[in-house]
């Protein structure tokens, strides 16, 4: 069925929420999903779901996915239209703009060739195409800004739904894949400016009736310069003036919209970038802490806190802690036997406790086996952490005998494979 403008917009005005919902569906939607979507987004007095489904297909709003007859997707043309209305156009990357610059170059060559040959009717076609290309560039500039502004607003309003890292990923893509390459193109010495400058000169010459070098050299002696082919006819000159005006507008919009987008994005980009790096740094140090222990981070010297006091004096810290303990102290009478304390929820093995047990058992021929036997009730994660301390030499020199074979250590439902570690002594 051929769709008319009236059909399309009548359908859109009756079911705007449905079209909006279909736009949000990024992948194809199956029949069941489509009918559920229709049910959610049309009024109760609307025709049946099946009728609306058939209209969606008949009007060409939906088409079947290439891989399944029962899956549907928005036609690209409709998606583009909705994207424009909703200010959610696909962002045009610098590569897309570069493609248009290539087209501009080709059209300028064609235009110049027509002028050199004084074939002015032939100049009209490249002028038409130049108009269209310039308008596409302008539309992309507008669309990019609208989309970027929408995305920034969404990022600012989705603080609860997205973590700082996720939001930075989105903004970083906009900044580094869109705005920075576009800025390079737009800059004074960028390709766009160079191309626009050349085109402007050509159009100025054509519109003002300046003679080109080729037709100046033609030696034609007719009195009328138009007849001699040295000046383009008035209609062509006027056409060139229009294209020149269009070029000036595109140039202005491209630059202004880019600046607008940078102003929109930059504060959020800087904020999220700083947050992302802050998070990355903290996570990295915590990871190193787990792998190599606190001493590897060397935080004490990096922070370099002053804690000077004359030798022999009790530190203020100790004194303060003691006073806090003693504050309000009153001797109590005979203490009643207390109820058993509630079990401690988390009581990890401390280094002191581990050191004591190892020292009592040294020399130990297989440290991991010892750890498993010594603390059978502990979680594997905790036992591995203790083994890590021993292996790292935190308590004294440890080594694996040269001829030792890999051993299996069954623990619960897990079997750990490792080479035996010998601990000969525990340093004080």
């Amino acid at each position: 069925m051929a769709i008319t403008i009236e059909d399309f917009f009548r359908f859109g005005s009756k079911y705007p929420r449905l079209l909006g919902a279909l736009f949000e569906v990024r992948d194809a939607i199956d029949t069941v999903g489509l009918r559920a979507l229709i049910a959610r987004h049309v009024d109760d007095d609307a025709p049946s779901r099946q009728t609306i489904e058939e209209q969606l297909l008949a009007y060409g709003i939906l088409e079947r996915a290439p891989y399944a007859d029962t899956a549907f997707e928005l036609r690209p043309e409709v998606r583009d239209l909705l994207a424009w209305i909703l200010k959610r156009q696909e962002l045009a990357t610098a590569d897309v703009i570069r493609g248009y610059l290539g087209q501009l170059s080709e059209l300028m060559k064609e235009l110049q060739a027509a002028l050199d040959a004084a074939d002015y009717p032939a100049a009209v076609h490249p002028l038409d195409d130049l108009d269209r290309t310039l308008e596409k560039i302008r539309a992309h500039a507008d669309g990019n800004f609208e989309t970027i502004a929408t995305q920034v607003q969404e990022l600012q309003s989705q603080r609860k739904e997205m973590t700082a890292s996720e939001r930075f990923t989105v903004i970083n893509r906009i900044w580094n894949r869109m705005l920075v390459p576009l800025r390079d193109l737009i800059d004074d010495r960028g390709q766009i400016e160079q191309r626009f400058d050349r085109l402007t000169r050509t159009l100025v010459d054509l519109a003002s009736g300046n003679m080109t070098s080729a037709n100046m050299a033609s030696g034609d002696t007719a009195s009328d310069p138009i007849v001699r082919g040295q000046v383009a006819p008035k209609a062509v000159r006027q056409r060139a003036r229009h294209t020149r005006a269009r070029l000036a507008r595109t140039r202005r919009v491209l630059s202004e919209r880019h600046d607008d987008a940078v102003r929109e994005v930059e504060p959020l980009y800087e904020q999220l970038r700083a947050d992302s790096m802050l998070l990355e740094g903290a996570s990295r140090m915590l990871k190193e802490l787990r792998q190599f222990g606190a001493s590897a981070l060397d935080l004490d010297s990096k922070i370099g806190l002053e804690g000077w006091r004359p030798s022999g004096l009790i530190s203020d810290e100790y004194l303060e802690a003691r006073l806090v303990d003693l504050q309000g102290y009153e001797p109590e009478g005979d203490a009643m036997l207390a109820e058993p304390p509630t079990p401690v929820e988390y009581d990890p093995l401390g280094r002191g406790q581990v050191r004591q047990a190892l020292a009592a058992a040294c020399p130990i021929e297989d440290a991991f086996e010892f750890i498993l036997e010594q603390w059978p009730e502990r979680s594997l994660a905790e036992l591995l952490r203790v083994f890590g301390w021993v292996h790292r030499g935190d308590f004294g020199p440890s080594q694996t005998p040269e001829k030792a074979d890999e051993c299996a250590y069954p623990t619960g439902t897990t079997t750990v494979m490792a080479w035996p570690v010998v601990l000969e002594r525990v340093d004080s």
Partner: protein
């Protein structure tokens, strides 16, 4: 000023700084005296063997070689865990750090096993240890506690943020951020 021993509030300022306290605008007159006579104080303290450092975020402290045992490390790890936990929320991390009153009993430090392991590495095992770290943060001027069971960070906590940025990407710091906020080098390099 010729007689450096006549510097205003010298005893109080020196008393705070030598114990490792960071002085920022919230400390009132001592901070502003230190700021207004920075060079004179710096000269005097340098002669006494102390390095007075100025941070671009607007606070002062004595920079030492660091031999405080586990205290500094505990404070830093406490801070890193907080940042890591806040990263799972949506709010700006720096805003969340500086603009919130942190309720001590609601701190996220022991919620994840990975965080518990990190804290155990520096002997922070339970809530009592957390409270000790917070008291230490307050003593050094990094935080201020209230009697409502909350605390908030003061601007000197930027020193921990600087550590995070350095660890993230030493060669590519955010524009206008920590690179500009580190210790005043001239103060850092003052010969003790």
């Amino acid at each position: 000023m010729k007689d450096l021993s006549q510097l205003p509030e010298l005893e109080r300022i020196f008393g705070d700084l030598r114990l490792g306290k960071h002085l920022c605008p919230e400390d009132g007159s001592v901070y502003y005296l230190l700021r207004d006579h920075f060079e004179a104080y710096e000269r005097l303290f340098s002669a006494l063997g102390f390095r007075l450092a100025s941070h671009d975020r607007g606070f002062y402290y004595f920079r030492a070689d660091g031999d405080l045992g586990k205290g500094a490390t505990q404070m830093a790890v406490f801070f890193f865990v907080l940042v890591d936990a806040l990263g799972n929320e949506g709010a700006s991390i720096r805003d969340a750090i500086f603009e919130r009153d942190h309720r001590i009993e609601e701190l996220p430090h022991f919620k994840l096993e990975s965080h518990r392991q990190c804290l155990a590495e520096v002997d922070i095992i339970n809530d009592e240890d957390i409270e000790k770290v917070i008291r230490r943060l307050e003593r050094y001027g990094f935080a201020e506690t209230s009697n409502r069971g909350t605390f908030r960070f003061r601007s000197p906590a930027w020193r921990f943020i600087d550590l995070c940025y350095e660890a993230a990407q030493p060669e590519d710091l955010p524009d206008g951020q920590p690179d500009d906020h580190r210790d005043n080098q001239s103060a850092e390099e003052t010969d003790s």
